[in-house]
Symmetry: C2
Subunit: 406 residues, 2 copies
């Protein structure tokens, strides 16, 4: 007997028929003798509808009330899924955030889980009842409903798997696993059998929207074996695991891209200590995340150009923030560009292999793609190129690293 | 400063605009210096939608899961109403059943409230925050969400008013008060300024669907001053109060009718001790409510006819229950009729006045309406007549008791 947590997203529970089909999948695990906890999202479209109501009433809303409104969607699905299981003769019970004490911080709207008690729920499971848990929700220190942000049900599932010391946490979704790159762009993309937490983390933060980043961090921290798997077929998906579980490591596991970036260049900035702090301090104060930063070597040691990227949605505010300090910063020109894409090759194998970046640069050069900004980490090389090259770059790199399916 | 509880039903909070209009009404009370708690129902249609999901999944559903699903509607309205108030500059906070410990029994689906704690909510109100409470919901002894049955938000409001020792409990609805009879049938029906709890209780249990019966019982028990008032106009409504608050008592306050009854007659029943128990015992065991009962005097002291009424929805089961005992009961024929209506005149004044029933019988006889069954209580006379006479009977009685508006 294994203890398994299974999470089903909004499209997997979009209507009564889909909820019944989810219940049938859960029944299979129960019939196989496993103890099962299920985490469900709101029915597809419901959360958007609820957010629409809030937006229509208030532009600067109180996040505590926003949370009380939007958390109701998961409550409905949890109850309905429990009913669908019962109807199939499987004992089941629904559990809301306050009932299993999913304690979070008080950052309403994107709260982080601190702990799950679940004593009563574990008792219920040990009597053979499937626990159906409303994802996305917890309670804040003030005893109010908190929500975990978009994709938060992934995190609910992982936190629950950690609290239950589960053998596996299946994230059921509308894709059947993690691919070497976006299969809608690269027809030869391959589904990965396994990927490490670190790689998945880079993939997730780079816009491969298979898993919420926070959920991968949490799985890595608590060593939860994650599986990304289809809601609609019985095929095995992709396991997200510790590096030592992967015997034959690929050099490169995947190629990710993000169109959410925008580039800002300041020309002729004084090349002296404190100038970077003068730019990035105010941006940080405005809660604007800066991703890639490049500072060119100056010719004369007096003036230099600085380029950095921010999220596209933050671009306007970032430009305003910097321009408000133009006098202090003393740059000559601010140029912004949102028609860029960040392309990244990711792989834990590159730690022990030289030449990974060189392969990337050559492959892009061969196709005539100009690299605007480069940044690297231990397991990732990212470049910023013009957005129009997205597909071309992905295909070229996928082939260059030998990832194409035969 | 007064402390006021205001309840708004589903049609009053049916969409964002209506919720904003409710918020404006609440703001008026706050601006007048009052402390306000608001009880809200689900947006019109939402509860039916949720019940529809449950019905599609399960015919014999687990009422605990049903409750978890359907209670979500009120949660949404509570959050949205709090947001609408905040947007108008009025401090507000939403409260769910589990947050104010609305403790109920464990009869899920039609639970009864035992107590409300509300310590935290009262603290919040004393800081000037409007408390917006999700109606219809509580928590059962098992720590699960319970709901109070259709119209349960009325009861939530009255229980809250009692717990808060409120000066008044306004039930806002789509009618502007309690009428002498159904104004859709009798054009000359008048709105009552005041009515006693006892009269309102009779009206409510007879199908005048202005207030949930249980809410009136609770108001009477805790001496809560109720007001039935329009959601959409500022006109005063109808006060439901203690008898001693009404100085000029009307003889008859109102005329109610119910089409929910069906009649069963057993002919030639043995006229001997124990026969009534033989009929009504099994019906009670089957949870079938019997309302009016008439036993004719028998000619020869050996055989008699017994007529009684049950709810229309119970008719089939009632017939089956009685027929299963035909041998024991030894009646000759069972005749059932669902084309009947119960018409009742109600008034606390009749306690001290003779001739009330006689006026009723004469007025009906004058119109050629045959009375099938009669039953009386201290403040009510009810008759059963053929359903086709409903309108005629109501108009005749309304005139006969001098209730017509000038």
């Amino acid at each position: 007997m294994a203890r398994i947590v299974k999470k089903f997203g909004g499209t997997s529970v979009a209507d009564v028929e889909k909820i019944q089909s989810v219940a049938r999948r859960i029944k299979k695990e129960v019939d196989a003798g496993h103890q099962v906890a299920v985490v469900v999202s709101a029915m597809a479209g419901v959360t958007n509808e609820l957010v629409g109501y809030v937006d229509a009433i208030s532009r600067m809303y109180d996040a505590r009330e926003y949370d009380a409104v939007v958390a109701s969607g998961e409550q409905v699905t949890a109850g309905l899924t429990a009913l669908a299981l019962q109807e199939m003769g499987v004992s089941a019970r629904s559990w809301l955030g306050w009932q299993i004490q999913v304690k979070t911080d008080d950052v309403h709207g994107k709260a982080r889980i601190h702990s799950i008690d679940g004593k009563e729920m574990i008792e219920s499971m040990s009597k053979g009842e499937v626990a159906v848990v409303a994802g996305f929700q917890g309670i804040s220190p003030g005893g109010r409903i908190s929500t975990l942000g978009r994709g938060g049900s992934d995190t609910s599932a992982v936190a629950l798997a950690a609290a239950l010391d589960a053998d596996r946490c299946d994230i059921h979704t509308d894709v059947d696993g993690v691919y070497t790159t976006d299969p809608r762009i690269v027809a030869k993309a391959r589904k990965l059998d396994k990927i490490t937490y670190e790689e998945m983390l880079e993939m997730a933060s780079l816009g491969a929207k298979v898993l919420q980043t926070r959920s991968v961090e949490l799985a890595m921290k608590h060593n939860v074996r994650l599986q990304v798997v289809s809601s609609f077929s019985d095929e095995p998906g992709t396991l997200v695991v510790n590096e030592d579980e992967i015997v034959e490591k690929e050099l490169i596991s995947g190629i990710a891209y993000s169109r959410d970036e925008a580039k800002i260049t300041l020309t002729q900035v004084a090349d002296k200590p404190g100038v970077a702090a003068g730019i990035f301090g105010p941006l940080a104060d405005a809660s604007i995340n800066v991703d890639m930063i490049v500072q060119n070597v100056s010719d004369d040691g007096k003036r230099t150009d600085i380029t950095f990227t921010v999220g596209k949605t933050d671009l306007e505010r970032a430009v305003a923030t910097v321009e408000a300090r133009k006098k202090d910063l003393g740059y000559s020109k601010l140029v912004s560009d949102s028609e860029v894409v960040k392309v990244s090759v990711i792989g834990v194998g590159m730690r022990s292999h030289a030449g990974i970046a060189q392969t990337m640069f050559s492959a892009l050069a061969e196709k005539g793609i100009n690299i605007q900004v480069i940044s690297t980490s231990e397991i990732k090389v990212s470049v910023l190129v013009r957005e129009e090259y997205t597909e071309l770059a992905l295909r070229a790199l996928h082939e260059a690293y030998g990832l194409d399916a035969e």
